[in-house]
C-alpha cells in the first residue's frame, strides 16, 4: 500500500471509529443538548470517513463501504485513542477533546497540502473540527473546574486516555515520505499545537496530564482488545449479507 493510501486510511479509520463510539451515545447522553451534539459530531465524522476512503478507493480497489465493513481488525489503522470505550461520559468527552486537539492542527496543516484534493478535504473538515474543539474544550474546562466529582471523573478519564495520545502523534516512514512531498504537515508543528492546546486547557481545567508510559500500536493495526467487539457490531449486518446493497 502506498504511503498516501496508508495516510488516508489512518485519517478515515480515525473518523469512522470515533464516529462509531460517538454514535453509541444517541439517546443515552446526560442532557438533550449532548445527545444532539454527539449525533452531530458523529455525522461530521462519518462524512469525513467517506471523503478519506473515497481518496483511496481506486488505488485499493475497494469502495468506501467495503473499506468500512469488510476489513479485519488488523487492517484498521486508527489510533488506539478513538477505539477506547465509553466507560462514562467523562471518558467520551476527554477522548473527543484529545482527538480534537490533534485533529485541528493536523487538518489545518493539511489545508496547505500539495495535493489539491487533500487540501480541499481539509478545508471542509477543519471548519467542522473547529466547532468540535470549541465545544469539547469548553466542557473540559467547566467540568474539570466544576464539582469535586466532575473534577475527579475528568481526571480519571485523562489518566486513562493520556497514554494513548502517543499513538495519535506518532509518525513513521510513510508519514516522512509524505512530509517530504509536502503532502502532509511535519510532525513538529502538529505536536507543538497539541502541546500548547492541552497545556493551556488543562491548566484552566485544574487537570494534570499524567507522566509515565505511553501507548502506541493502533496506527500499525495493533489494537486494544476493545477493537474486535466494536468491529463485530459495526460490521454485523453487511457481513451477514455478503454482496447485498443497502
Amino acid at each position: 500500500m502506498s504511503p498516501f493510501a496508508t495516510f488516508c486510511l489512518r485519517m478515515g479509520d480515525n473518523a469512522l471509529i470515533l464516529g462509531q463510539r460517538t454514535g453509541e451515545w444517541c439517546g443515552h447522553a446526560p442532557v438533550l443538548e449532548e445527545d444532539i451534539a454527539f449525533a452531530n459530531m458523529g455525522l461530521d465524522l462519518i462524512g469525513q470517513t467517506q471523503l478519506w476512503y473515497g481518496m483511496v478507493s481506486d488505488e485499493l480497489g475497494k469502495s468506501p463501504d467495503d473499506l468500512a465493513f469488510f476489513r479485519g481488525e488488523r487492517e484498521f489503522l486508527n489510533t488506539l485513542l478513538v477505539e477506547q470505550p465509553n466507560t462514562d461520559f467523562a471518558h467520551a468527552l476527554m477522548r473527543q477533546y484529545l482527538f480534537d486537539a490533534w485533529h485541528l492542527p493536523m487538518l489545518d496543516g493539511l489545508t496547505g497540502s500539495t495535493n489539491a484534493d487533500v487540501a480541499a478535504l481539509a478545508e471542509k473538515s477543519v471548519k467542522e473540527v473547529r466547532y468540535h474543539i470549541d465545544r469539547s474544550r469548553d466542557l473540559i474546562v467547566r467540568l474539570g473546574d466544576g464539582s469535586p466529582e466532575s473534577h475527579d471523573r475528568m481526571q480519571a478519564a485523562l489518566d486513562w486516555l493520556w497514554p494513548f495520545t502517543a499513538d495519535l502523534l506518532a509518525r513513521d516512514a510513510a508519514d516522512d515520505t509524505l512530509v517530504a512531498e509536502g503532502m502532509i504537515p511535519a510532525a513538529a508543528p502538529v505536536q507543538q499545537a497539541f502541546d500548547w492546546e492541552t497545556a493551556e486547557t488543562f491548566a484552566r481545567a485544574t487537570l494534570t496530564a499524567p507522566d509515565g508510559p505511553r501507548r502506541t500500536g493502533g496506527r500499525t493495526g495493533n489494537h486494544s482488545e476493545h477493537m474486535g467487539y466494536l468491529l463485530a457490531v459495526m460490521q454485523s449486518v453487511p457481513r451477514a449479507h455478503p454482496g447485498a446493497h443497502w
Binding site: 469512522l16 439517546g27 446526560p30 462519518i46 467540568l143 466532575s150 449486518v237 453487511p238
Partner: protein, 311 residues
C-alpha cells in the same frame, strides 16, 4: 364567562393564541399534556432507531440515521420550549417522563429487531406522525403551531429516507426482501394504532377540536394514512398483513381490518414489549449524567462568584 367566550371567538376567527394571552386552565393543561407527550415521544423515539446507529449497513445510511436521530432530539428540544411557554419547566416534564407518569407514543415500545425496522419506522411511523402533525401546523397555539411547521419539514424528509431504506431492501437479495416483509408484518398494526382509539372511544377529542388543538378525528387521519400507504406498499411489492384490506369503489377509499385494541390499551398501560427497557434506558441516562449536570452547575456558580467579587 366572557373571557371564555372571547377566547373561543379568537380561536374561531383563526387568531393564534400567544403565551401572554389569557387562556382557560383546561386549554393550558390539555396543551401541556399534548405537547409534552409529543416531546417525550421524540426523546424516547431516539432509542429504537439509535439502537441501529452502530449497526447501519453502509456509511451513507449511518450518516442519514445519525442526522435523523439528531433531528429527533432537536424536535424534543423545540417542543419542550413550546411547553415551557405554558409555564411548565423542562425539569418537571423530564421528571414526569422518568417516573412513568407521563405518556409517550406507544409505538416506541416495540423493539427494532432488524435493519428493516429502521426503514419501517421512517416509512410508516414517521408517515403516520406527519399525518397527525401536518394539521397541527394550523393549531390555535402559536408556539406549538410554529414548532410543528419546523418539525413537519424534517419529518417528511425522514419519511422519504425510510421509504428509501425499504426500497433498497425489496430491490436486494431474497433475504433482504424477506427482512422487509417481516418488518412490515410487525410494524403495520402498531402504525395503524398510532392515530389513537376509534373516534367512538376517544376521550377529550370534542373539546380539543373546539379549541383548535386537534383538527381531525382519529379515524379520519387513519383512513388517510391507509389510503396513502397501500399504493406505496404495492409499488414496493410488499404485502400488508391485513386480509380485510380492499379497495372500496363507493367510498373511493380502502376498507381495512380492526386492529387489536386490547393490545393497544395494554401497551399504553405500560405492558408493551419494551416499556420497561425504554424507561430504564432514559432513567439510566439521567442518573448516570447527574455528575455532569451538577459539575456544570458548580462551575457556573464559581464563575458567578468570581464575577461578583471582581465588580
Amino acid at each position: 364567562s366572557d373571557q371564555d367566550k372571547a377566547f373561543q371567538d379568537k380561536i374561531d376567527r383563526n387568531v393564534r393564541i400567544e403565551p401572554r394571552d389569557w387562556m382557560p386552565e383546561g386549554y393550558r393543561k390539555t396543551l401541556i399534556r399534548q405537547i409534552s407527550q409529543h416531546a417525550h415521544s421524540e426523546i424516547v423515539g431516539q432509542l429504537p432507531e439509535g439502537n441501529w446507529i452502530t449497526r447501519a449497513p453502509s456509511l451513507q445510511r449511518k450518516a442519514i440515521l445519525l442526522a435523523k436521530v439528531q433531528d429527533e432530539a432537536g424536535h424534543g428540544l423545540y417542543l419542550y420550549c413550546a411547553a415551557e411557554t405554558l409555564g411548565v419547566s423542562r425539569d418537571e416534564l423530564t421528571e414526569q417522563l422518568l417516573s412513568g407518569k407521563a405518556k409517550y407514543s406507544s409505538i416506541f415500545n416495540y423493539p427494532t429487531l432488524t435493519w428493516a425496522d429502521v426503514g419501517m419506522i421512517g416509512w410508516l411511523v414517521d408517515g403516520a406522525a406527519i399525518m397527525n402533525q401536518v394539521p397541527l401546523q394550523r393549531c390555535s397555539y402559536g408556539p406549538y403551531s410554529r414548532a410543528m411547521i419546523r418539525v413537519c419539514k424534517e419529518e417528511s424528509f425522514h419519511q422519504r429516507q425510510g421509504f428509501d431504506i425499504v426500497r433498497a431492501l425489496v430491490e436486494g437479495t431474497e433475504d433482504q426482501k424477506a427482512m422487509a416483509q417481516d418488518a412490515l408484518n410487525r410494524w403495520w398494526w402498531p402504525a395503524i394504532m398510532m392515530f389513537g382509539p376509534p373516534d367512538a372511544d376517544s376521550t377529550h377529542s370534542e373539546q380539543s377540536m373546539k379549541w383548535g388543538i386537534k383538527l381531525n378525528s382519529n379515524d379520519e387521519l387513519r383512513q388517510k394514512f391507509v389510503d396513502q400507504t397501500v399504493p406505496q406498499a404495492e409499488w414496493l411489492g410488499l404485502t400488508l398483513p391485513d386480509p380485510d384490506l380492499k379497495w372500496n369503489e363507493d367510498r373511493q377509499s380502502y376498507d381495512f381490518g380492526t386492529p387489536d385494541w386490547d393490545e393497544f390499551f395494554n401497551v399504553i398501560k405500560g405492558n408493551g414489549i419494551c416499556n420497561r427497557e425504554r424507561l430504564d434506558a432514559r432513567n439510566k441516562a439521567w442518573d448516570d449524567g447527574a455528575w455532569f449536570r451538577e459539575g456544570l452547575m458548580a462551575h457556573a456558580e464559581k464563575t458567578t462568584k468570581q464575577n461578583i467579587a471582581a465588580e
